[in-house]
Structures are given as structure tokens and as C-alpha cells.
């Protein structure tokens, strides 16, 4: 068998191939267990009903919760996830490209800004969300400033804080995502911009290309492969377990804030708290499977269109 596999290899190549496979043995074994097996067992778990038999009861429950009305409906959670995604993709992401571009163009104080913008990653989600919650709380600086400026806001907001108010909580979470999302792609995007050869910019300057022209006709197309990859990654994280919202709003029953990602994380968190028996794993697994089935075609179609407009750029 091995002879067959290495038919076209010279003796040296075969030795190299065996060495490479040796190096890959652990990463592949880890992948097979913690990615492949986990995802396959996630599918089988989805069919494990609360009565310990296999069937479709979990899917029926998910669909029932999807079509019911009110704030606890899964369709409302899905809608909120899509709004979060849309804000991230159409507002935050384009702004973050301009952000990276300004840094790449050596804005005065560039290095200082780079360090400051990396702070959210450095401090981590727990510290950032804790600080943000204090900032927008009833006694926090933001509402204090608004009060001093005599800007009108409903009374309950000054009592409950921006995250406590039913009407303002989701917007406050969206703003948090925007605030931190602006700087989240800086390393990757400025990296892509830096890889564009300087001669291209110099030549375009000699040709009299304007600043806007340089951005839209040179920089943007040349970093499109990176942008498209980030867009695809972003698309595939549509319903990913959203622990950020979980940290912001906690485990309490709050109206008007839950996204699908939050709910997915919350259900697993509850399971981890209770050390639940096997039969309770089916419901979240079924929910995850349905969301995956719903999202895969969207991601693949999105990827097809994005990559169709991606020429193989070499420089």
C-alpha cells in the first residue's frame, strides 16, 4: 500500500514525505477528534430527544420556538443577529478599511494610535465589557455628561442606564460592536496594504492619479483578496456563539437584546452550570444544525460572488 502511495517519489522525497507526515500526525489527530468528530457528533446529538430516543422532537421544538410571536421567538433572535451582522459588514467593516488606510498613509502619531487601537484586544472581552457597562450605566460618565448638557432622554434611561433600558439596550450593544470593530482588522489590513510594492504608488503619483483615485483604483483592488477573505469569515460567523453580548447583558431575562449567538452561548452555559444529562444536549445541537444548514448555502453563494470578482493578484 505504502509503495503505491509513494509510487512517483524518489527515495529522498519519500523520506521527506514520511518526515512531513510524522510532523502532521499530532495536528491531524487533534483535528480529527476536536473538529471532525465533534461536528459529526453534533449532528447525531441533534436527533437525541429528551426521552432518550432518536427522532425529530428537538427540531420540532426549535421550529415551534421560531414561529411563535413575542420577544422570546427565535425568529426575533435571528433577525437581531442579521442586524448585528449588517451593521458589522456595511458600516463597521468599510470604516475599518479607511481606518487602516489612514494608518498606512502614516497619519501623524501613527505608532501611538496603533498601540491605543490595540488596547481592546489587549485588555480582553471581560475587562472591555465591564468598563463599557460602567461607562453606559445610570451612574456612569456618559449619562452624566448627557445630563449636564441637558440632552433629553426618557427618564427610565437615567434610572436603568443605557443597557438597562428596553429601547436602548440593543442599540448600545450594536454601538459596542462598532466601537471595538473599527480597530479589530487593523493588523491584517495594514499588513495587506504594506505588501503593495511602493513603486506602484510612485508610478501612479507620476501619472497624476489623485488621492481618491489611488485608493479606489490601486489600494482597494490590490487588497481585495484580503478584504474578500475577511468578508467571507464575517459571513460565516453570522450566528456564532456570541459571548460578548453575554458578558454585556449577563444571564438575566432582558427584553430586546438577545441574538441567536447570545442564545446559543447561553444554552451551553446553562448546560455547563448544571452538568446536564445527555438528553438535554439535543435541543441546542438541533438549533445549531438548523442554523448551519441555513447559513452554508448563503456563505457558499456569497463566497462564489465575492471570489468571482477576485482576480488572482500577484505582486
Amino acid at each position: 500500500m505504502r509503495q503505491g502511495l509513494f509510487r512517483s517519489y524518489t527515495k529522498t522525497e519519500k523520506r521527506g514525505a514520511l518526515f512531513a507526515l510524522g510532523l502532521l500526525a499530532f495536528p491531524i489527530a487533534q483535528f480529527l477528534i476536536f473538529y471532525l468528530y465533534i461536528n459529526i457528533s453534533s449532528i447525531t446529538l441533534a436527533f437525541l430527544q429528551p426521552d432518550n430516543n432518536y427522532g425529530l422532537a428537538n427540531f420540532e421544538r426549535v421550529l415551534e420556538e421560531f414561529v411563535r410571536s413575542g420577544d422570546g421567538s427565535l425568529s426575533v433572535y435571528v433577525l437581531r443577529s442579521m442586524i448585528t451582522w449588517a451593521v458589522g459588514t456595511f458600516i463597521t467593516f468599510p470604516a475599518s478599511i479607511l481606518f487602516a488606510y489612514a494608518l498606512f498613509k502614516k497619519i501623524p502619531g501613527e505608532m501611538v494610535f496603533r498601540v491605543i487601537f490595540f488596547l481592546p484586544s489587549l485588555l480582553g472581552a471581560v475587562v472591555m465589557t465591564t468598563l463599557y457597562r460602567y461607562l453606559v450605566s445610570a451612574t456612569g460618565p456618559l449619562l452624566e455628561v448627557i445630563k449636564k448638557l441637558n440632552i433629553y432622554l426618557p427618564e427610565n434611561i437615567f434610572r436603568d442606564g443605557l443597557l438597562g433600558g428596553k429601547d436602548t439596550a440593543f442599540g448600545t450593544i450594536l454601538f459596542y460592536g462598532f466601537w471595538l470593530g473599527l480597530s479589530s482588522n487593523i493588523i491584517v489590513l495594514t499588513g495587506a496594504l504594506t505588501r503593495i510594492p511602493k513603486e506602484i504608488f510612485e508610478a501612479s503619483k507620476l501619472d497624476g492619479t489623485s488621492f481618491m483615485g489611488e485608493f479606489f483604483r490601486i489600494s482597494f483592488p490590490l487588497i481585495w483578496p484580503t478584504i474578500s477573505t475577511l468578508l467571507i469569515f464575517n459571513m460565516s460567523s453570522l450566528f456564532v456563539a456570541d459571548s460578548g453580548t453575554f458578558l454585556l447583558v449577563g444571564t438575566g431575562e432582558k427584553e430586546g437584546v438577545h441574538t441567536m449567538g447570545y442564545y446559543m452561548f447561553y444554552v451551553v452555559y446553562r448546560l455547563s452550570e448544571t452538568g446536564a444529562s445527555d438528553r438535554l444536549y439535543g435541543y441546542p445541537a438541533a438549533m445549531g444544525l438548523l442554523l448551519t444548514i441555513f447559513t452554508i448555502p448563503i456563505v457558499l453563494i456569497f463566497r462564489y460572488f465575492v471570489e468571482k470578482h477576485t482576480e488572482d493578484i500577484a505582486y
Binding site: 476536536f34 480582553g124 471581560v126 468598563l131 489623485s210 484580503t226 450566528f239
Partner: protein, 289 residues
């Protein structure tokens, strides 16, 4: 003067763009720095001072709060020292196994020909792209079944994935490193292992080190492992989350803020010392679909 000269060599459009963004960056920087200033300032107050106003500066900085944080803060049976120890071992082990595994995988795939090689890079990209929601549930069940919950001797296996973002960066990095030295060494009788650790890996050290620092930062702040799988081994990030849920009558908010400052201090120092290396090296391989 230098800045003015720099601005002079720019076109009008570029200057307007940069001025607009400069203003925006300053606002953004203040919005990111103020919370940090706020937490440090409040960590130096008495509980009474903090309740009176969280904006005023402390009348007399109360550095004792930092001692109180180290002495009095605990989560369950875990004292502050245990929380710090858990944070360090989890961050270091996770960084070593994750980047170690990714380095071996990226080196093998980028530099050798072997059966199944073309499939691996495509699979890595597919993993990044294909959404698999709900696998957290199966992971939790698997870890229970495999006796890996609250098991520090086995939990590291979940961190040792070799086909993630670090793989993509290192794959690109190794691809750009010439194989000529290796061939020369081979003629001199060096084996594959010797070539790897004597010739190829040293060339990738800047990228590996940068990825390690980034990974260390992420792992230091990782609260989900403690929250979901290792509750008996809380780290500082998870402890801050738990403490914030409590009323904190006993320790008081300023001491809690002091604990936050202590928990982020090591990362701030590491980052300030290494930020130039990170910014230049992680981007070298880059991300290309």
C-alpha cells in the same frame, strides 16, 4: 516641523482625509483611553469616594487597594494567587501547544510533498469559512464523556489545534523562506529534523514569536474555557466576570478595579515591549484567500 514637512508633500485630498481621520482618531483614542484612566483612578479611592463620584480624582491615592485585591479577592476556594497561577499556566500552555502544533503543520505542508497535501490547505480554508454552529454543545458533552472537564492534564488537547489562523500566517511565511540552505545542508548530510530546527525554524522565529505573543494575550483573556469547561480552575478573566456579578460589599468596588488593573498589567508591559515586532511580523505572511 517634521510633521509639517510630511504633510506638505501630500496632495490636498490626502491632507483633508488625514486631517478628518486625525480628529476622528483622537476622539477614538480618548474613548479607549478614558475607561482605562477611569478604572485606574477609581482603583485608588475609598469606597465612599467612589460612591460620591466616579469622575473626581482620588483625594489621596489609596495604593492599599492593590494589596487588598491580592490579599482579599477570591473565587470559591481560589485565592488571588491561585487565580493568577491558573491564568499564567493556561495562557502559557495554550500558547505553546497551539503555536507549536500550527508551526509543525505549516512547516510540513509548505515545504514537503506528500500524499494528501493538496487537500490540507483547502480543508484549512474550508474550516475557516464553513459555519458550524452548535458544536459547543457536542464539545461540552465530549469533554464530560472523556473526563476532560476540570482536568488540567487533558484540557490542553483542546487548545492544540494546528490548522487555524496561525497555520495560515506561518504557511505563508515558510513558503517565502528559501529551501536553498536546506538543500545545501542535505548535501552535507543533515537530516530533515536537523534542517527543521537548525535552519528553517530559526528563520521563522520573528513570526512564531509574534504569533505566540498574540496567542498569549488571547489566552490570558480567555474566560470561556474557565466558564464552560474548567470552573474548578478559574482564571483572572473569569474571576473578574464572577466578581462583577456580585454586590461586592465585602471588598468594595475600588479593590475590584485594582484587581482589574493588576490583571491587565502584565499584558500591557509585554505588548509595549514587543508591539513593533508584532505589527511587522504577523503581517509578513498575511492573509490571502
Amino acid at each position: 516641523m517634521k510633521v509639517r514637512n510630511k504633510m506638505k508633500s501630500r496632495s490636498v485630498g490626502e491632507t483633508i482625509f488625514l486631517i478628518l481621520f486625525f480628529v476622528f482618531f483622537v476622539v477614538m483614542a480618548i474613548s479607549l483611553l478614558y475607561p482605562l484612566f477611569w478604572v485606574v483612578s477609581n482603583s485608588l479611592k475609598t469606597p465612599f469616594e467612589y460612591r460620591e463620584s466616579s469622575f473626581n480624582l482620588p483625594e489621596t491615592p489609596l495604593f492599599e487597594n492593590y494589596l487588598s485585591a491580592v490579599r482579599d479577592i477570591s473565587v470559591g476556594k481560589a485565592s488571588f494567587a491561585i487565580l493568577a497561577f491558573n491564568t499564567v499556566w493556561m495562557a502559557v500552555v495554550s500558547t505553546v501547544v497551539n503555536i507549536g502544533s500550527s508551526t509543525l503543520a505549516a512547516y510540513a505542508v509548505s515545504k514537503y510533498r506528500f500524499p494528501g497535501k493538496p487537500a490540507i490547505y483547502s480543508i484549512v480554508i474550508m474550516i475557516q469559512v464553513l459555519p458550524t454552529f452548535g458544536s459547543n454543545t457536542a464539545m461540552l458533552k465530549f469533554l464530560y464523556d472523556a473526563n476532560m472537564i476540570n482536568n488540567p492534564y487533558l484540557i490542553w488537547l483542546t487548545w492544540a489545534g494546528g490548522f487555524d489562523f496561525a497555520f495560515i500566517v506561518l504557511y505563508g511565511y515558510f513558503k517565502s523562506v528559501s529551501w536553498n540552505y536546506a538543500e545545501a545542508a542535505m548535501i552535507d548530510g543533515a537530516g530533515h529534523f536537523k534542517i527543521m530546527y537548525k535552519i528553517m525554524l530559526p528563520q521563522a522565529i520573528p513570526a512564531i514569536a509574534s504569533l505566540m505573543i498574540l496567542n498569549l494575550i488571547g489566552a490570558w483573556n480567555n474566560y470561556t474555557t474557565s466558564m464552560l469547561y474548567m470552573k474548578a480552575y478559574p482564571n483572572l478573566a473569569y474571576a473578574i466576570y464572577l466578581l462583577d456579578q456580585e454586590s461586592m460589599f465585602e471588598i468594595g468596588r475600588p479593590v475590584f478595579f485594582a484587581a482589574i488593573v493588576i490583571s491587565i498589567l502584565p499584558l500591557l508591559i509585554i505588548f509595549v515591549a514587543c508591539q513593533k515586532m508584532i505589527m511587522t511580523n504577523v503581517t509578513a505572511g498575511g492573509l490571502k484567500g
